[in-house]
Symmetry: C2
Subunit: 177 residues, 2 copies
DNA sequence: GCTAAACTATACAGATCTGTCTAGTATACT
DNA sequence: AGTATACTAGACAGATCTGTATAGTTTAGC
């Protein structure tokens, strides 16, 4: 419900009605709505990490990146797609909210995956560009309801990774520059 | 306030207090909060159109695109930056809200500007990729509070436009393919 | 100066929000 | 069997939300 309808418009009463659970039970297990939102993002991050782990089976870095964006493409084509749960949440919750740490953690995991696919240390421009590809694809595909946006981002990301890989190949041949 | 704090958490009472205006006056001039949100987005779109018009003075398409992203870069470095008002609003308001039309209009204007900078008809992959660059830069720069994200997107967009321009040059030399 | 429109402040309605509290019931362990 | 723990339903508090209504005041046109 947080993902489908938004965090702020999803009230506690609706949540417990849908969960078939008493209000006191919810507040026994979660300190408050903030903590519930954090748990929602935590579980989303776990599923995301599982996806990244599954993609780890693909040895070729560029292929792995392509498979990642292919997965996004399939997700964006589903009827329940509403964009990235993390960047959506970042719009709705305050920067100092407890759940915000989960959002930051997500981008760290994403950045590490991209750095790994590029074979770089992590904090360089190409990683940032792949993050832009991801985030832009999710946001624009949601708003325009156009899954082809994700396909375009996929091609851009793969081209970027390929260009990066061949450049690295060159500097491996002539190191010390 | 809609931009800084978010739409749903900004109540009417706070708006009229800040505006120094009575509640009845507000409801005499706007049908309701939805219409007020639409007006906010409409004015944001007007300012955006003015930016695009100013950039129209730059003749070279790639330079124009670079200037556009340079402007984003400067905006993202300010303390009040909170991402793109339109994609933020898209997270908070329903797809059938009256203000949603303004969001769609924004993306149409953006797409037209990009198509113009690329010299294409408009509905092709490169335009989608530039939209991805824009949207991803705004979203990620906001969340990570890292203006370098926008610089990375800028370089990506310019490289894309340059590659496109030289390819167009080639097909102009050998048309009919 | 008079009239009409638009403003002001503020009370109010009715809904919804998060979170607490009470009281009773089920479950699980020992 | 008995006890502790966790559940249930639901009332309630207090805040906040959008929007309306009342009543008085300012402003502008003629």
């Amino acid at each position: 419900m947080f993902y489908r309808d938004g965090i702020n418009v999803t009230g506690i009463d609706r949540i417990i009605a849908r969960a078939g659970v008493a209000k006191a039970s919810l507040y026994n297990n979660f300190e408050g709505k903030d903590e519930l939102v954090a748990a929602y993002l935590r579980s989303s991050l776990t599923r995301f990490d599982e996806l990244l782990a599954a993609l780890g089976a693909i040895n070729d870095p560029v292929e792995r990146l392509d498979a990642f964006f292919a997965n996004l493409e399939a997700t964006a084509a589903t009827a329940t797609f509403r964009g990235c749960p993390f960047s959506n949440a970042a719009v709705e919750i305050a920067r100092d909210a407890p759940a915000h740490a989960e959002i930051v953690a997500f981008y760290e995991h994403l950045g590490l995956f991209f750095a790994n696919a590029l074979g770089t240390a992590g904090d360089d421009e190409a990683v940032r560009q792949l993050i832009v590809c991801y985030d832009g694809a999710m946001s624009a595909a949601k708003i325009l309801e156009d899954p082809e946006i994700v396909a375009a981002a996929r091609h851009l990301a793969v081209a970027l990774a390929r260009a990066r890989a061949s450049r690295r190949q060159l500097s491996d041949d002539a190191p010390g520059t």
